[in-house]
Amino acid sequence: MKLRVLALGILAAWPALAQGEATPTNQLHYPVNPTLAGMLDGAERARNAGNWKQAVTLYRNVIDEDHAQRTAGYQLAFVDSKRTPGARSARRRFKGITQLAIEGLRSLPAEGKRAFRSAYDYRAQAEFERALRDERPHQALSLCYELYPIATVSPRILETLAERALEEGRMDRARRLLQRLLAHHRDELEEPLWIQEKLLLCALGMGDAEGVRELADELGAAQHLEQAEGAQVLLGGNLTSVAELVARALEVQAIKNGQRHGERPSLPLPRGDAAQRAAYDQPVSLGAARFRPLRFSRPQVQNGASHSDMKIYMPSRPTNPARNLGVVNDGNLFLALSDRIVAYDLKTGESAPPIRSVTQAYNDPNPKVLFSAALHQDVVMASFVHDVLKDQSFRGIPIKVQIPIRKLVAFDTARWRWLWTHDTLLRETDQANWSFPCAPIVHEGVMYTSAFSIEGWINCYVAAYEVESGAPLWATWVASGQVEQTMFGEQATEPLCVPVAAANGVIYWSTSFGCVCAVDADTGRPLWVAEYDQIEVRAPQGYYASPRLITWENNPPVIEGNVAVVAPMDSNNFYGFDIETGESWRQPQRSSATNADMKYVQGASDGKVVVAGGNLVKCIDVESGKMLWNGRLVGKVVTGRGVIAQGAVFVPCEDQIKVFDLDSGKPLATVDAEVTGNLAVCGEHVIALRADGHLAIYQNRGFHEYRPR
């Protein structure tokens, strides 16, 4: 009888359960285009049936259609979905329409490629010539390649792009383009050795000693040189020894890392590189503080009731999560705050001449904003609060809350003057209402950042800008979502936003709205968009918004090996996404004891990523997502973002820095430090920035023992 009742109950609940499965945790709105996805399907069927002409026509039409709708940006197609046991909704995965079409065209056999060339070579050549005359040839040529990826002229497009990058001294971009050339068009190249020589020059210019050694060996073997008196290669017509090339690369690397004695060092990106790994190839050993701790900002207040329309402002304490990261140019530390930039000499702590503010004073109470900057050729770029959307209430019940609108600014440190501000630059454009809540990064000489706009939905974008002028290069709408709302249906909090990361010509971003994306750095073409499990945004209860409990601090994605590790602020978990496909592993729910306090991604190196929070440090294998070790900080709490240096993990706690071995998790050392918080390494200096606005610079004793690995 009981069984029958139970069965009836299950049957009665079945439709509701089924419906629940189909409902996403939070609504998300993507640029999905089922019509173009259907055309792609048709193209694949034609390809499988050997109908090359029809297949290439359909693929080309799809690419043209996707580019014709540029007002809406690139479109996506649904790929698959995966359900985590116990999760409320399945995690969907999308791919860019143009990306799928390009992959389809590249997978065509020789007959298919011939069909493409007989139909489109003429147009591809005309487009190539037009792109060469364009005022922004790099972008025009990249778009041209995207439109005609398997035309006869396609290798020439990539080679031209690489040549131009070399001329401009952008070795990293040149190397990436040459690698793509070899990967997709090796059989079509007349002189592959010439490409390898250029690759070697790029590695040399970038200071990649390991790359130089590998490429020189390959090149030497391909040149069939006698290797009797040590390894040699023919480079630019001259016979050069491999050892000499490696030595030159090491010299470049030392200069770049600020490891040459007597030189004033630089740290262009606060987390070491554009991949946000916070991993340094040099030993770090914390010495004495160079000067007494400095206060770099006025006492900050933080909203104690995080992300709510109920404001409880509290003074920030040393144990609060640190919110600042800095960049170093020519021995000067530049710190971007919510409304100004301050600068200090790394060695003496002396303040640089004050930098006139270009915006209103604003003491930012949002505890989840990361104040940071990026540096490129003496230009510091940061995000300032330029405007605040007004609040409004009815008998004490919030209708609207204050939401800061942040814009990017650039300061020329060589001439000590402002270069540009997006507040005026974007005023008459369709980006006029965008907010840029994070510092940008610079990758291959181009500035990349994330942004949002509030237009009903909160629309999330990845965008690229010229460093010199701040002019937009491209912008891609990735997804739209929603935050908590007031009883009157207005956003009750500033949308969350983390910085982007970049590696090998691809920009990765965790949107804070249920998905992670990868977009092409040259054109903004989405490669994939993949979802993760979100914390539910609840409807307002009574008169006030229902804030989510957000525990992750502001962590940009970290790219290590073939995996993008993300700790999304709107999720309880952390994930690893395959950088090629967007397929993911997932670490268990925060409800498990081992994850309860995780706040920071400390850094990544050697296929491992370290996360920390509360009194716990965990190391995870990036390929599998499996935990390798965990370490406890007895009686201490992690207070910021640490670094990884030559196999040692530096974790900042309240008044100490704990050091662990990256491979084993074995505690190596505990260093007392008056000021801890967010850490960065710059040559012979270790920078620490605390939540309450204090700065300390420690000597890096390991600097003198530097031996490249």
């Binding site: 609504q27 009815f394 237009e455 929603q482 709302q485 009157f488 249906g489 307002p540 209860q541």
Partner: protein, 362 residues
């Protein structure tokens, strides 16, 4: 062969009966000369008030307690309603006495479609988006144009993607709570889009109709409730927030059910009884000093038009006379939202018997 022929004969015999069952018994009401003249006066007023870019300026804001808190701005929702008022007169883009006005309305509405498909201007929200989508669908249905279709497709997709797990919508897309008023606007926009060939998943409409049905008050259990009405927000979803019912909300609920093809049922019968009850009818004074007088009649008129007799022939003349009595000398009406809104709404309500707008068809 024999059986197939027999089946065809049976079907042919049964067909008139089936058709008759679905037809509504409604006394035809023609617009009399006086009403036509007053409508012309009102449309002339709207024609004069249109901005150079096609927009109409009125209050963009929100209901706060019993008032409409707003700031003046180029209102995309009011522009769409004004466009519908011209369409109801038989004008289409560039055709008819107000053809130029319709074209300018279309241009302005399309200029407000953002890359995400959301139709907004100066902070307008889901109400305006729904009216603008409905307008684009009606325009596309009457004069197909590919550029309008693309805007319509994206606007409709935006509505579908923002439907929440309750099946409804709220002021902002993707909101977790819902209310019947905004939900009905979206349902009508989706239905209009579907009618002109834009793909709308059936599940989206079905889910919305479930929500509307859940809002129905079948039986009063407290003094706040009145049987036959529809809740503003489904009570069990918000136990901490007292909900309410009203003429406008009930009219919206019944119209949504009709719009979804539900022509019979306790919700419709109860809702019509509620609306027809003189105690529930909005007071005439509300025409000028409220924000939902015209909104309520806009849906109630559609509901009674669909219901037919015995309601229609009594309701239309009565409301028509009441609305015409409130018209200003310059042809306008005015309420808390603004004169363009009130005039456009009045024109649409008064012209329902003309049946030019496809959405009002059964």
């Amino acid at each position: 062969m024999h059986s197939t022929r027999l089946l065809l004969v049976v079907c042919a015999l049964a067909a008139p009966g089936l058709t008759q069952e679905r037809e509504v018994r409604r006394k035809a009401i023609e617009l009399d000369a006086r009403t036509q003249q007053r409508i012309k006066l009102a449309l002339d007023f709207l024609s004069r008030r249109q901005e150079a870019n096609g927009a109409y300026v009125d209050g963009i804001g929100r209901k706060v307690n019993h008032t409409y808190m707003h700031e003046p701005g180029q209102h995309v929702g009011v522009t769409a309603l004004a466009g519908m008022a011209f369409l109801s007169y038989g004008s289409t883009p560039d055709r008819g006495p107000y053809g130029k006005n319709v074209s300018r309305c279309v241009d302005f509405v399309r200029s407000c479609v953002n890359p995400q498909g959301f139709i907004t201007n100066q902070g307008s929200r889901m109400y305006s988006h729904a009216f603008a989508t409905l307008f684009l669908a009606e325009v596309y249905g009457m004069a197909p144009d590919e550029s309008v279709r693309e805007s319509l497709r994206r606007a409709a997709q935006q509505i579908v993607n923002s439907q929440n797990e309750q099946g409804g919508w709220r002021y902002l897309p993707g909101a977790k709570d819902s209310d019947i008023s905004i939900t009905v606007c979206q349902v009508q926009a989706l239905r209009a889009a579907n009618n002109v060939g834009i793909h709308v998943p059936k599940g989206a409409i079905d889910h919305a109709i479930e929500y509307v049905k859940r809002s129905y008050i079948a039986k009063a259990t407290s003094f706040r409730q009145q049987p036959g009405g529809f809740w503003y927000q489904v009570y069990e979803n918000y136990p901490l927030r007292p909900s309410r019912t009203s003429f406008a909300l009930t009219a919206a609920g019944v119209t949504a059910l009709y719009g979804a093809g539900e022509y019979q049922g306790p919700e419709i019968a109860g809702g019509l009884r509620y609306l027809f009850d003189p105690n529930n009818r909005p007071q005439r004074a509300g025409m000028h000093n409220s924000f939902d007088y015209f909104y309520g009649h806009y849906y109630a008129m559609q509901a009674f038009f669909q219901a037919g007799e015995p309601y229609w022939s009594q309701w239309y003349p009565s409301v028509r006379d009441e609305i015409l009595a409130g018209q200003n000398a310059d042809g306008s009406w005015k309420d808390q939202v603004g004169s363009n809104y009130a005039t456009a709404m009045s024109c649409v309500i008064l012209q329902i018997p003309s049946r030019y707008l496809p959405i009002f068809e059964r």
